[in-house]
C-alpha cells in the first residue's frame, strides 16, 4: 500500500489527485493538503473582476467531492519538509498545520511514500511596498476574493464616472520581475470593454504598465505568429489591439512602490518615475512559499529541495541568455535528491526566465519571470501522476512520462471582452511554449503553423466553453478523464 501526498489543490494538485485516485486501487491512499476549502478555476477570475461572473460560478467546495471519490482531504498548509523522516519517524513526512475546523492551529506529520508539491506560487505582494489588494486604490484578480474586491472598486469608479468624473486606470505588473502578463492583458481589455458598455469610456484614460521590454512579450520572449495570411510579431498584434482601443502603454517599468493612487517605478534607463491613477490592477511578483526542509537528524537541507521554488530535473547552471537551450527545461519534474518528490505546475523552479533578462542602468533587473499557465500545469501534473502510478504498479521508477515545456504546445485564449455577441477573445497557440531557437532558428524559436493568433467573437465563446469544460472536469463528472488537460 502506498500513500501519495499532494500539497495544493489548484490546477496541478487537483489534476494529479483526480488521475491518481482514478487509476490506483483503493488500497493506495491519496491525500490532499491544501489551505483553501474551495477549488477555483482561476482563469475566469477576469470575469469576476468585471462583475460579469459571480465567484460562486468559478468555485466549488473540495471536501464533499474528495469524500465521495475517496481522496483524503486536510484543510491545512504545509510548513516544512522531512524527506527522510526524523529520529522518531522512519517514513518521510510533511509537517502541516490545519487552518480551519476543530483542529485549527494543530500541526500534523503527514506521512507519504510519494510527494507531489503543487503549491503554485506565493502571491508576493510584500515585495512591492504599498501593493496591498484593496488598498491604495490597487487591486488584484489573482484569487476570487481579490477579483470580488476589484469589481467593487471598479464598479464604484464607474458610478462616479457616470456622474462626470474623469478617471485614470492603470493595469499591468506590480513588480520588476512579475509574471502572468497574460492575465493583466485580459483584464485591461475586459475593463475597456465594460467602460464602453457602461457608456463612460470617453471619461477614462487607460494605461498598460509592464516590466516587458516590448508589448506582447508575455514572459515568453514574444512570439512570431501566423495571423490570417500574415506573419506577425506578438508585439505588433498587441500594439494593433491597444491602439485600436485607445490604450496607452508604459514598458520596461519596474514598479517598486505604491502610494494612494500613485505608482512609483524605475525604467530601464534608470529613471525613477511616477504614474497616478484612480483604479489599478497590478499583478504581484510570484515567489516560492519559503518552505524549509530537514534531514533525519534535523539538519537543514532546504537547498536540496528548494531554490525559491522546488528543484527538479532542470539544468540550473547559471549561463548567459545566448547559451540557454531547450534542454535546460525539466521533463520529469522529479527532485534530483529525493526521487519520490515531484513538483508540477508553478511549484517547480524554472532554470531561468524565458524572456531576455535586462537590467536598468542602475542595475535593477526588469523583465518578466517565466509564466507557467494552466495547460502546462495540468499536463505536467498528469505526467507526474502517471510516473507515480507506473512506479507503484510496475515496481520501479520508469520515468517514461516526460514533457518539457520546450516540447509542449499551449493554447492561450485571452478574453478581450465579455458578451454572447459583443464579446471577443485573442486566441494564441504556441508550440513550443519555451522557444527552441536551435530547432526553429528562423521563426523565433517556434513552429509557425502551430503558433498562430486569431481575434474575434469565437475567442470569447472558446474561453467560455473552456470555463464550463474545465469546471465539469474538475468536478469529476462522468467521463471527466476523457477531457484533455
Amino acid at each position: 500500500m502506498a500513500t501519495i501526498l499532494i500539497l495544493g489543490a489548484g490546477i496541478s494538485g487537483h489534476v494529479a489527485a483526480s488521475h491518481l485516485r482514478r487509476k490506483l486501487s483503493k488500497e493506495h491512499q491519496v491525500v490532499v493538503v491544501s489551505p483553501n476549502s474551495n477549488y477555483q478555476w482561476i482563469p475566469s477570475n477576469i470575469w469576476v473582476g468585471i462583475g460579469r461572473m459571480k465567484s460562486k460560478e468559478i468555485l466549488f467546495p473540495l471536501a464533499p467531492l474528495y469524500k465521495k471519490k475517496g481522496i483524503d482531504f486536510k484543510q491545512a498548509k504545509a510548513i516544512s519538509f522531512f524527506p527522510e523522516g526524523d529520529k522518531n519517524e522512519t517514513k518521510p513526512y510533511v509537517l502541516a498545520e490545519y487552518v480551519a475546523g476543530e483542529n485549527k492551529g494543530q500541526q500534523e506529520k503527514v506521512i507519504y511514500d510519494y510527494l507531489i508539491n503543487a503549491t503554485g506560487p506565493k502571491l508576493n505582494f510584500e515585495a512591492t511596498a504599498g501593493l496591498i489588494p484593496g488598498q491604495n486604490k490597487t487591486y488584484s484578480v489573482c484569487t476570487y476574493t481579490h477579483a470580488n474586491h476589484a469589481w467593487e472598486g471598479l464598479n464604484a469608479l464607474i458610478q462616479e464616472m457616470k456622474n462626470g468624473k474623469k478617471a485614470k486606470i492603470l493595469i499591468g505588473t506590480g513588480h520588476a520581475k512579475a509574471t502572468c502578463q497574460g492575465a493583466a492583458f485580459e483584464y485591461i481589455l475586459n475593463v475597456e470593454q465594460e467602460l464602453r458598455r457602461h457608456k463612460v469610456r470617453d471619461r477614462a484614460e487607460i494605461t498598460w504598465i509592464s516590466n516587458e521590454y516590448q508589448l506582447g512579450d508575455f514572459g515568453m520572449d514574444g512570439m512570431l505568429l501566423s495571423y490570417g495570411s500574415n506573419i506577425m510579431k506578438s508585439s505588433e498584434m498587441v500594439e494593433m489591439v491597444f491602439e485600436d482601443r485607445d490604450i496607452k502603454w508604459i514598458l520596461g517599468a519596474g514598479v517598486n512602490k505604491i502610494e494612494d493612487g500613485k505608482t512609483h517605478y524605475e525604467t530601464l534607463e534608470g529613471e525613477q518615475k511616477t504614474e497616478t491613477y484612480d483604479f489599478a490592477m497590478l499583478i504581484p511578483s510570484f515567489s516560492g512559499h519559503g518552505f524549509k526542509a530537514f534531514d533525519k537528524n534535523n539538519n537543514e537541507i532546504t537547498d536540496k529541495l528548494f531554490k525559491g521554488f522546488m528543484l527538479v530535473d532542470a539544468d540550473y547552471t547559471p549561463k548567459p541568455y545566448e547559451e540557454w537551450t531547450a534542454q535546460d527545461w525539466p521533463e520529469t519534474y522529479q527532485n534530483p535528491s529525493y526521487k519520490n518528490i515531484f513538483a508540477p505546475g508553478i511549484a517547480f523552479a524554472p532554470p531561468h526566465s524565458i524572456s531576455k533578462p535586462r537590467k536598468s542602468k542602475s542595475g535593477t533587473e526588469i523583465f518578466p519571470s517565466p509564466p507557467r499557465t494552466g495547460m502546462p500545469s495540468g499536463i505536467t501534473a498528469k505526467l507526474v501522476a502517471d510516473t507515480i502510478i507506473d512506479t507503484i504498479k510496475k515496481g520501479k521508477n520508469l520515468q517514461e512520462h516526460k514533457g518539457s515545456m520546450a516540447n509542449m504546445g499551449a493554447a492561450c485564449i485571452a478574453s478581450a471582452g465579455y458578451g454572447t455577441f459583443s464579446g471577443s477573445g485573442i486566441s494564441i497557440t504556441t508550440f513550443p511554449i519555451v522557444p527552441d531557437y536551435k530547432k526553429y532558428p528562423d521563426t523565433h524559436g517556434r513552429k509557425l503553423g502551430k503558433t498562430f493568433g486569431e481575434i474575434g467573437l469565437a475567442g470569447h465563446w472558446l474561453k467560455l466553453t473552456l470555463h464550463y469544460v474545465f469546471m465539469y472536469k474538475a468536478k469529476m463528472k462522468p467521463f471527466w478523464w476523457l477531457l484533455p488537460e
Binding site: 518539457s404 520546450a406 504546445g409 493554447a411 474575434g456 469565437a458
Partner: protein
C-alpha cells in the same frame, strides 16, 4: 485613438455566423496542437531533428 482594425475586418471578427465556423476550426486546431503530445527534448533523435 487610432483605428487599426478596418471596418471590414471588424465586421468579420464579430459576425456570429462566420465566427461560429471559426470557433469550430479554432477548437479543432487547439485540440490538435495540445493533443499533438509532449515529450523530452534531451534524446539524441530529438536534437538531431533540426
Amino acid at each position: 485613438m487610432t483605428q487599426r482594425i478596418s471596418k471590414n475586418k471588424r465586421f468579420w471578427m464579430m459576425n456570429p455566423v462566420w465566427q461560429f465556423f471559426k470557433y469550430l476550426w479554432l477548437s479543432l486546431k487547439g485540440m490538435l496542437i495540445v493533443a499533438g503530445g509532449h515529450g523530452s527534448t534531451r534524446s539524441k533523435d530529438y536534437q538531431k531533428s533540426h
